[in-house]
Structures are given as C-alpha cells and as structure tokens.
C-alpha cells in the first residue's frame, strides 16, 4: 500500500452534504474485476452528460480545479453502500487527501486501504476552508500526517486528530494482512479453544462444499 507522509495540492470544494458512494461510483461500474481505472468514472452521473461528454456545470470539470488532489467535503461523506470502488475511484482520480467534518464508518476505513488520508475537522474550520477555496483560484492545502496539521499558504494551521495505529499504518504503507498474519499462532490458539465450525446436517444444493 502506498505510504503517505505529506501532501500539498489544489483543493476541490465539493459543497454537498451526504455525498453517498453510489454517486462516487454508480453500480454499472462495479462489474470490473480490477482495482484500477475507476478515476475516469468518479462522480459519473454528475460529471458527464449523455454521450460521456463532460458536464461543464459540475465542479470537477472546471478548468481551475484541474489537477486537484485535495478533496474538501461536507458532513456524511461516503454514506451508503460499502463499495470500496468509491475510494479506489477517488485515489485513481488523483486525490490523496479528503477533508470533511465526518465520514460514514465503512468509507472511512476503506480510505486507508487506498492510501488516502481522510482528515476530520470541526464544522467551523471546514466552513472557513470552503470560503478560502471558493474565493481563491488555485487554493491549495498541505496535509502533514506526522505533525497532524492542515496548513495553507496564508498562515492557516489546523491540527487534526487521527488514531495512532491508522496513522502508523498509513505512514509506513503497511500491509494490513501481513500485520495480522504475524499473529497466526494466536489465531490458531483461538480456533483450538473455540472450535468455530459450520456443520451441514441436511443436504443443500451447492457446489465445492467442504462441510459435512
């Protein structure tokens, strides 16, 4: 997983509450078998007119936000479906940081798997960031994970809280499965003492079943 330490980028102010993951990646794009290539379809229904022509009214298509890599959002970002395709699309598009008051739980966890830093800041600070981003063309922010700060070029400096473990995993770009597998003996111990199982007592119409 791509490690994250510090990132500076142009801010895209997405000024809507409760942006759900169906908007980030509509269902027809969930049929791919890869993790790559979703950036093209991020916010598809808002972003494109019929015939896949970019919708000039949608903020992602405005020239001043070309190359944006910091997504500024409102409350409830990532609500709805657990589809991890949503953060894949956000990362594939080029966003490395999201800044919002709060996120849906599953989406928040999924961000870390894609090397995206999801920052939580109080509503009043988010309001200020929206004001600055909308007023100033090319407005950019720096997210510093070790220092846990969001700063801009005009002296703004906000500290954010983040769970120590998640911070460590993101800083090091650690493989979460590798971490867990280090505890394989403990897992085996649990299995021995608890004997989790799924015995089949009457037949079912299934293939490849190992259960008896």
């Amino acid at each position: 997983m791509q490690p994250f330490s510090k990132h500076t980028g142009i801010v895209l102010p997405l000024d809507r509450v409760n942006v759900d993951t169906d908007q980030m990646v509509p269902k027809q794009f969930l049929k791919l078998q890869t993790k790559q290539g979703y950036g093209r379809v991020l916010f598809y229904d808002w972003r494109y007119l019929p015939g896949d022509k970019p919708n000039p009214e949608f903020i992602l298509n405005w020239p001043r936000y070309k190359g944006a890599s910091v997504l500024l959002a409102r409350a409830g970002f990532g609500c709805g479906s657990s589809r991890e395709h949503a953060p894949w699309a956000i990362a594939d598009y080029g966003f490395r940081v999201i800044v919002a008051p709060n996120y849906a739980d599953i989406f928040y966890s999924n961000c870390f798997m894609s090397g995206i830093l999801p920052v939580r800041l109080p509503e009043a600070q988010i309001d200020e960031l929206f004001r600055r981003a909308e007023q100033q063309e090319g407005y950019s922010l720096t997210a510093d994970l070790p220092a846990q700060t969001i700063t801009d070029e005009s002296g703004l400096n906000y500290r954010f809280e983040i769970d120590e473990f998640r911070k460590h995993v993101l800083l090091e770009g650690l493989d979460e499965i590798g971490i867990t597998l280090k505890y394989a003996p403990r897992i085996a111990e649990y299995e021995k003492s608890h004997q989790p199982g799924a015995t089949m007592y009457s037949p079912v119409d299934a293939k490849y079943s190992p259960n008896r």
């Binding site: 509509p26 049929k31 078998q33 409350a75 991890e84 120590e164 473990f165 499965i177 649990y190 799924a198």
Partner: protein, 473 residues
C-alpha cells in the same frame, strides 16, 4: 461480573488479540461472499501467494448481477458473466461452498444465510455488502466490509476492529394496523438521521420489536446501516429458536437444546450501560414514505413534501432543495397525491414470506393501475419462491398484473437488467433512494410491502391503513 450488553458479550467471545492503541483482532464465524465485491479480493490473495484460511466458514452466492428471468439463456452482460466465472473459479480452487445461479438454495445473500441456518445467535458474520446488518436480527454481530477487508478475512479469518459504542433503540407500544416493521426502521432513521448512528452498534429492544416475526426483525436490522450504524442487533428469543430449528446448518436434538441454552445467555444483562438511548413509540407511527434522496428524508404517508426553508441548517436547506428538484416534487404536495410509474417488491429488506403474503393480501382480486408501466415481485430466494408458489401467491400477483421473478437483488440497485428508466418514479420495498440508485435519473420512494402493493393498485401512494389490511407480522 459487570453487567454486559449483548454486543460486549459477542465481542469478548471473539477476541483473538487486543492491545492498547491498536484495533483488536476478532474472529469471524461466517464469511459470506458474492460476485461483486470478491474478485479483487481473490486476485489479491493469489498475487500475494496466500490461501483462504477457512474455506469451511466461507459461503458464496451469486445475487447482485443475476438476471431474475431467463436465467437459462446466456448472460448478455459480459462483465457480470466475468464476475460469475471468477467467483466460481475461486470457490472451486479453494473448496468454498457456492450457491450459484442454478442452485435451489440461491438467493440474496442476506435472505439465504438465515434460511440455511448459517446465521446463528452469538456469531460474528461479515460480507462485502453493507446490509450484512440483517443477520443481527438473530443476535449476531454482523457488518458490511469493503473488498480489502474481504481479502483480509479470506487470508486470516479475522478482522481488525475497534470496539464500537452502543445505542439502545427501544421501540415500545403496539404497531397500529397497517404499520409494518419497515415503517419502524424508516421512522427511526427519520428521527436520528442517516449519520445518527455513526460509530455505534444498535441494539433494538422493546415491546414492538419483540412482537415482530423474524422476517420483521430482519427488515429492521437490515437498514441499520442507513442510520449510520456499524451493525444492528436484536436479542434471540423463542421466535428465533423456532425459526432456526431444523435448518440445514443447525444442530439437531440434544446439540440443538444445548445451543439454545447458550443462545439464551446472550441477552443484554439488566443494568448494562449503553452509550446512547433512543425511544420510539410504535403506536404513534404511520406508514412511512421517503420523499427525498436518502432514507432519512422520510415522512408519514399523511404528510407532505417539506419546504426546504423549513430546515434550519443552510446545508440541509440546499440538500433538500436539490433532492426535491431531482425527485420532481413540489413543497406542500401531499404524499398521497404522488403517482408512481413502477412498483418493486423485493430486496434483502423485504422479500421474505411474510412480506409476500401481506402484499398478496392487498392485491388479491384486484389489478395494478393502468397508469403503471410495470410492477415486479422478486422473492428473496428460490426457496421463498417455491414456498410462495405452493401457497398460490405467484398466481395472485400475476393475476393482479405483477411480474413474478427468480430470486436476486434485482431492482434494488439495478446491476442486472431490472432498472428504472430515466425520470421514472417507483414505490420500492428496498433500502436506498439515492440519486440514480435504481437507474440513472430514476426516482425511488422507499415503503413497506403493503404500501408498495397498495400504490400499485391505486397508481399513487395511499394510506394503507384505510384499506383495512394486516401488515406482515
């Protein structure tokens, strides 16, 4: 011993490792998988040279992309076909039980789990699908996960998780006639908002919850995620044990009796503390209808489409205005005056026998409105389908002008041929009404099965209490 919540009991029983400042490692009893969120997980496993640790605790089904008719014909959607092939190949390689498109036990993953008796009180259950909370109706800790976590569970049979806060949602009183389990959960979400449960696991309790059948409890738990919760659960009781007895993966005879004794011990101890409590009076509830573009934008059927200006928060005002524009609804419009183009009865929320029986009672001897472009009934599983046919429900629906289909997720999320066309408005028994959910530019109103059935007959929403019909038990 300190009094513990059911959540805490299940959590502690599954702890493999905990350490300060780190997420805990918890063991997963059941890993349910389907074709949409698993391909990348299996690919990742292969790429890393890892194997599935417990194929015997992993169960797969094809449900999201399956066609609900003409299943014997070649799948036209090559991408979906690719996903089915990938799932079949991965299951064959790992020795994972697969309920494929032609299995007699196939259906929506959250319908077949309990139906097969895979879902058992006290378990931890995960699936790459947010409505995994459905299984909480049996007193389990069940939650949705993303594809990376699917890969993690395949490789380790564990999850890294922080313990959640708990919210006690107590629903007292008796539901009025015509008020369903669906209305209870929609009203809860309307009250707390779609982010209200963030960071929490819900435990639903109270007289009205106890009075629900297992089908009704599954409906309530199903939409916990829509209230922002990590999971939702209901303590098991005699109804739970009666539902499970005799199902394929449920122990028999003496072992069953022993299991029941241990399941009874799961209930929250008296005196256990919850981090938050919400109380709802079921007797005050009306049948609910969503008017907006998230499940929290909901009101009683006798209500009206709200005015954006009536919301205090400017962000909410903007969101409501946007929602009304998308839904093509004017403030002040009575919900009963809103016409529908299509009706969908199905989804993991409401597609079980009680839902279908109640909807059939509404439409028996009647016909769908000539204003409707179509109406669909999609049983939650092939078992539900055959049981419904044995009771003649299929004939009742078809005589009334509904299409009767094979089991799958169908029009809930339109990943298969069942979608709404742009601009169409549907009464749907599913769980999400986001923009474009059922088809680009389509308009979804979430309702209970009997409300959907009544809307199909009338051609617009009606207060089904005036029709003197019973809600699903």
């Amino acid at each position: 011993m300190n009094p513990r919540t059911m959540y805490r009991k299940i959590w502690e029983a599954h702890l493999v490792r905990e350490a300060p400042g780190e997420p805990s490692l918890i063991y997963i009893d059941r890993h349910l998988i389907h074709e949409v969120t698993s391909p990348q997980a299996f690919a990742g496993l292969r790429a890393a040279g890892r194997k599935v640790r417990r194929p015997d605790l992993t169960f797969a089904v094809m449900d999201h992309s399956v066609p609900t008719k003409d299943r014997n014909l070649p799948i036209l959607d090559t991408a979906a076909a690719g996903q089915f092939d990938a799932l079949a190949r991965s299951c064959r390689e790992a020795g994972i039980t697969l309920f494929d498109m032609f299995s007699r036990n196939q259906g929506i993953v959250h319908v077949i789990g309990p139906e097969l008796g895979l879902t058992q009180p006290g378990q931890t259950i995960v699936c790459g699908d947010s409505h995994t909370s459905t299984h909480g109706a049996f007193g389990t800790l069940s939650f949705g996960i993303g594809t990376s976590e699917v890969e993690h569970v395949l490789a380790t049979q564990c999850m890294q998780q922080y313990e959640s806060k708990t919210m006690h949602i107590v629903v007292n009183g008796k539901r009025g006639k015509g008020v369903s389990a669906k209305d209870i959960i929609l009203a809860i979400i309307g009250k707390i908002g779609i982010g209200g449960g963030a960071g929490h696991v819900f435990e639903y309790a109270g007289e009205a919850i106890r009075a629900l059948s297992m089908d009704g409890r599954m409906t309530v738990c199903n939409m916990s995620i829509e209230g922002g919760a990590r999971a939702g659960m209901i303590a098991p009781d005699d109804k739970t044990f009666a539902y499970l007895e005799g199902r394929p993966y449920i122990p028999r005879r003496k072992e069953f009796q022993e299991a029941v004794q241990s399941w009874k011990a799961l209930t929250t101890d008296s005196g256990a503390k919850f981090d938050a409590t919400v109380e709802i009076d079921a007797s005050a509830l009306a049948p609910q209808v969503t008017w907006g573009t998230n499940p929290g934008m909901v009101t009683g059927v006798t209500g009206r489409v709200p005015d954006p200006g009536s919301f205090r928060d400017p962000d909410d005002q903007k969101a409501v205005a946007r929602a009304l524009a998308y839904m093509d609804l004017k403030p002040g419009t009575a919900l009963v005056d809103v016409p529908v183009d299509r009706v969908f009865i199905g989804s993991c929320t409401n597609s079980r026998m009680n839902d279908l029986r109640a909807a059939a009672r509404v439409v028996a001897g009647k016909h769908i409105s000539k204003n409707l472009k179509g109406a669909l009934v999609v049983p939650g599983s092939m078992i539900v389908k055959s049981e419904a046919e044995a009771e003649g429900l299929d004939k009742i629906f078809m005589d009334a002008g509904f299409e009767w289909r094979d089991a799958g997720c169908s029009m809930c999320l339109g990943m298969n041929p069942d979608i709404l066309l742009p601009g169409e408005r549907a009464a749907s028994t599913s769980n999400r009404n986001f923009e474009g959910r059922q088809g680009k530019d389509s308009r979804t109103h979430l309702v209970s099965p009997i409300m959907a059935a009544a809307a199909a007959i009338a051609g617009h929403f009606v207060d089904v209490r005036e029709w003197n019909v019973e809600a699903p038990e």
